[in-house]
Symmetry: C2
Subunit: 323 residues, 2 copies
């Protein structure tokens, strides 16, 4: 029997971030036909997050003039621990109330009326850069996603490296034994200095103790309740001393942590993205490169360092590659 | 023309360490038929080291009742940067006067009258454990060689991972930003706290400043000019406060550095060897495991941790696998 062919083979992709949900619809050539963005709910629990994801996907589909149920499928890049077989997501630390396991793929499938595949957000973002972005010339790539947390994706010998399923936790490499408390509860992790959530917690603590800063006024002015990448960038541009100091610490931590990973793996290239990475862009890629240099063991032969080429949409494009 | 078959297919292996040179002769089943050990020259340069290696190999061959020229070949595990094609070795930091490149394979070939293959000491040691030792049950293994320096070997997906040729520098992962000066010249490397050379430099500095310690008396009593693994072990057994303190720091540094590597790679197993690793053995493997635990991101599912199964001879056995 001949199967009727759909008129258009469109796929959906959702990047579930700690701050925002980005949904897109792409065609067979991975061109983006429609996109939509929603803030990630800051309260409630997994069902609220799933509802916001359905809404974002519906809106992106509408922009691409297709019903979600008409999509070949929807890929999702999610934080937390993913059960690849069922699409259930557990312990997504930077999402509200997401401590246990939640059947994300199942709930989205019923909300969107099409097949949903879930994978790790960082793997998905790294795969997108490797196949379609800044990683194309290489066979070994470390993707570093500098945002709410700091995630790492690994391509080794042109393949994703997942270890036993939990590889890539570059944000929790120890860069300062006995150092600052990380949102994960441990001490001295790279993310304790470089993750946006940790930086915000630090800024709030210091502001409460009397350190003067424009960060929270800028936040209110922009209508946010959290220090977004844009708020950090504006505060740094305004020369806010606390913002500059915390960003400097973040750059130093990223330099040490990424150099450590390079000393261990000697990859050809490092690609830096994430909310802060994309917002701060090229000048900060240069600063991170400089911060890595004193820690590189093979310092005469550093890896190539690039910003993500797919920008903010890389995570969602990578997610769409899942289907 | 039919080639006459040698009566015995014996191979040589030499492990070139910062403290000692270990040479062995093995049969086709990798059983050790003869072995010899020489201290690594502490002065002079590469030719002196090569001469000591020839001497050690001659002595091991003699114990196995064979002429070196009768061996199928000799494999060498060497520190430094290896040119796989020529067997030249450059910048072997823990060896005397070995800053430039030296044609080690060529010199040994002419000294021993048989083919010589040189590879990285740590890769060779890890390969030996993976194929014949504690790594046999696994497909992903991190080998940690805790000795004069701290080296790391990687088996990923049952294959050696070398990156661009310089992977495995776990000793130079940053565990303390702005921390202690490492023999490599950088700051805060794991090796700055855990490498025997760094520990000895620290002990000499503190002793000079008046810290009381039995370390150097024990060293003289044992007829050494350096703090060997055995001297460290004896000082710790005797409750020497400085030795205990420095070994405690080394264990903490190893815990943080190895956990960082596991967070990044999520390997199935970590295998710990090297002069100090072998000398301190099981109780310290347990201590290092405990020191890793607070830094493991997936702390409910740590990798298996084993001491090397081939002991002190693992490096030489691995070297013999090269031919």
């Amino acid at each position: 029997m001949t199967q009727a062919r759909r008129p258009r083979r469109l796929r959906g992709g959702i990047d579930l971030g700690g701050t925002k949900i980005e949904a897109i619809v792409v065609d067979a050539g991975n061109s983006v036909l429609g996109s939509a963005r929603r803030p990630t709910p800051t309260s409630g629990g997994p069902p609220d997050v799933a509802a916001a994801m359905v809404e974002a996907m519906r809106s992106a589909a509408s922009a691409a003039r297709i019903e979600p149920s008409g999509l070949v499928g929807v890929g999702v890049g999610s934080p937390g621990s993913i059960d690849a077989a069922t699409g259930a997501v557990a312990s997504a630390r930077n999402l509200p109330g997401w401590t246990g396991s939640y059947p994300l793929a199942e709930v989205l499938t019923s909300g969107l009326g099409t097949r949903v595949v879930v994978d790790n957000d960082v793997s998905v973002g790294t795969e997108a850069e490797f196949r379609l972005g800044a990683g194309q010339p290489y066979t070994s790539v470390l993707g570093v996603f500098w945002g709410t947390g700091v995630g790492g994706g690994l391509i080794l010998d042109s393949q994703q490296w997942h270890g036993r399923g939990g590889a890539g936790e570059i944000g929790h490499m120890v860069i300062k034994l006995g150092g600052r408390r990380c949102p994960c509860g441990r001490r001295g992790c790279m993310e304790a200095y470089a993750g946006r959530a940790a930086m915000e917690a630090r800024a709030r603590k210091l502001a409460k103790r009397g350190t003067s800063t424009k960060l929270f006024k800028l936040m209110e002015k922009e209508g946010h309740t959290r220090l977004t990448s844009s708020v950090w960038a504006k505060a740094v541009e305004a020369g806010d001393r606390l913002a500059v100091e915390l960003i400097d610490e973040a750059v130093a931590a990223l330099g040490a942590g990424i150099a450590s990973a390079v000393n261990l793996l000697d990859v050809e290239a490092v690609i830096i993205g994430g909310g802060l990475g994309v917002r701060f862009g090229e000048p900060y890629i240069k600063r991170i490169t400089d911060a890595m240099q004193p820690h590189l063991f093979n310092d005469g032969r550093p890896p190539d360092i690039h910003p993500v080429a797919l920008g903010d949409l890389g995570g969602a494009i990578g997610a769409a590659l899942l289907v």
